[in-house]
């Protein structure tokens, strides 16, 4: 037994906290730069001063119709939609990855995104719906799929392992449903459905990000209230219980939050692949043991979405890609890297 100085322990803790703050600050700065790029880049050149004037024009009254249309009606809505949906995907991903203690357990792998997609394709092809109705349908599909996975995985409580396996099974089944719907659809409908499935910000309207923002603000308090429960849940159910965590209630609450984030974002921009999957591991790696990195994963998600969308719009001359194509390519490379790294260190989990 040796006596340890309390101030030393407090110092170690403060170092950890300040590293967390540095990571957050770095991500915020990167987001500001990327946002500035998103507002500046485009066929119609607008100077930085003009952009600032335009952004504040509703307050100041200095208007310039043409420029304001480009900035306020075209670029800003797309920017906000990218930031909000990316953050929602990122948070949703890390909630699931932390709860299920598995980096593969993000909602776009364990079937929740597939549920949203199958429902959207059903709405487009069978019901002939468009626009907001499709978004609502996909939202319902995500919730329904998550609920079904939870019920199927339940056996005197829910274990992470069962949720992941059943989720992967559900994903395969729902992909089959989507393929079947395609075989009986007309070409025009298939095109429309495919555009939705790839996920895109091309159709961003000012109202989209407002709706998404309201939904996120309504859900955020639940996450804030429950996130401390992860202190225990991360250490295994018995340890969590021993530390006084209400294990089942906390886990269910966090899963509902994670599903809600994924469903809101998917309803707004389509199932943009891999953003939820990559954000958590990137945030964790940046934190390097200085914390769980939940808010940081939200920031990483927003950054990945925004930068992917910038690449999708501007990387190829005369060709706009859907955002989901870029995130998909990025995610695939990241998945390979993750598998190689975890294989080397001998830990897949």
């Amino acid at each position: 037994m040796t006596a340890i100085d309390t101030s030393y322990i407090a110092g170690v803790r403060r170092q950890r906290e300040s590293k967390g703050r540095r990571v957050t600050l770095g991500l915020v700065l990167a987001l500001i730069l990327a946002s500035a790029a998103a507002l500046t880049l485009g066929d119609f050149p607008v100077s930085p001063e003009e952009i600032l004037r335009s952004l504040f024009s509703p307050l100041t009254g200095f208007a310039n119709k043409g420029v304001d249309f480009i900035v306020l009606q075209v670029r800003a809505p797309r920017l906000f939609l990218a930031l909000l949906s990316g953050a929602a995907f990122g948070l949703s991903g890390i909630i699931f990855q932390t709860l299920l203690r598995n980096p593969l357990a993000s909602p776009d792998i364990i079937g929740i995104a597939h549920g949203a997609s199958a429902a959207a394709v059903f709405c487009i092809i069978v019901l002939g719906w468009t626009g907001l109705a499709v978004s609502l349908g996909s939202f319902a599909g995500a919730l329904l799929t998550a609920f079904a996975i939870y019920i199927l995985a339940w056996r005197n409580g829910v274990t992470a392992y069962r949720v992941v396996l059943i989720g992967i099974g559900a994903a395969a089944m729902l992909s089959a449903v989507i393929s079947y719907l395609f075989t009986r659809a007309r070409l025009f409908e298939v095109q429309q459905a495919m555009a939705w499935l790839v996920g895109s910000l091309n159709a961003a309207r000012p109202g989209d990000s407002v709706v998404l923002a309201i939904m996120l603000v309504l859900t955020l308090p639940l996450l804030i209230a429950l996130v401390r429960g992860l202190d225990g849940l991360e250490l295994g159910d018995d340890t969590a219980h021993a530390l006084g965590t209400r294990v089942e209630q906390t886990r269910l609450g966090l899963m509902v939050t994670g599903v809600a984030f994924a469903a809101f974002a998917t309803a707004a921009v389509g199932p943009v692949g891999f953003v939820a999957f990559v954000s958590g591991p990137i945030a964790r790696r940046l934190m390097g043991g200085a914390g769980r990195g939940i808010p940081q994963a939200g920031l990483v998600g927003a950054l990945v979405m925004l930068v992917s969308d910038l690449l999708a719009q501007h990387a190829l001359p005369n060709l706009q890609l859907p955002t989901g194509v870029v995130t998909g390519g990025f995610g695939a490379v990241f998945l390979l890297w993750l598998l190689i790294v975890s294989g080397r260190s001998g830990r897949v989990n």
Partner: protein, 270 residues
Amino acid sequence: MTQNHQLMAAGLHLGYADREIVSDLNLNVPAGKLTVIVGANACGKSTLLRGLARLLTPSKGAAYLDGKPIHQMPTREVATLLGVLPQSPIAPDAITVSDLVGRGRYPHQGWFRRWTPEDDAAVAEALGATDMGELADRPVDELSGGQRQRVWIAMALAQQTDLLLLDEPTTFLDINHQVEVLDLLTDLVKERGRTVVVVLHDLNLACRYADHIVAMKAGKIVTEGLPVDVMTEAVVREVFGMTSRIVVDPISDTPMIVPIGRHHVEKAVA
């Protein structure tokens, strides 16, 4: 911390799904003592510990903390009185030692009472008690099995509870670390008047360190009491199905069990 809380079980039935593991068990955990539970594999000793620690809800009967059924008490309140180290806790990737030990402060914190100097002091004390101070900022991933086990014990210590329940805290440890852990638990009992319950595999260490030993077989208590009073060759045969001879531990004068197998038996065994 100095006042002793009372843990007991009355008519306790525990099981998983439809399989009953512990049936109609009564136990009074002596306050301010080190209690060791021993028994063969699958005799229900870990299940009993989980039941006492409210990690498992009883199918009948109850475990009582200060006279109240423990699984009906607010779990957070229990966590300030009773700490548990389960058998296989999980360390998140890349978590540092002091961060993990700090998780033991969870039941003492809330939304409006976050990290305080008191929490830092508790973590420092727990790390000091387990000799892990100089590893405070190291990732748990990089530690040896023995060090890792001590980190988990430190986490339970940081919880600063009067009662401490540990499920096989010496597995994966080599003999000198086993002794270290048991010395540490004895310090807690002797110097701070804590009540400690521990499930152990090693009978001889159990006999040496236990103030109160509980021998279990098939979900029931076969015998309990001071090791020197209750550990007989007949008890060892009943509990472990093994013949043995009991000698006096030359160091501690406690019972020492010498197993008799089929080979290497030089002297005739009656």
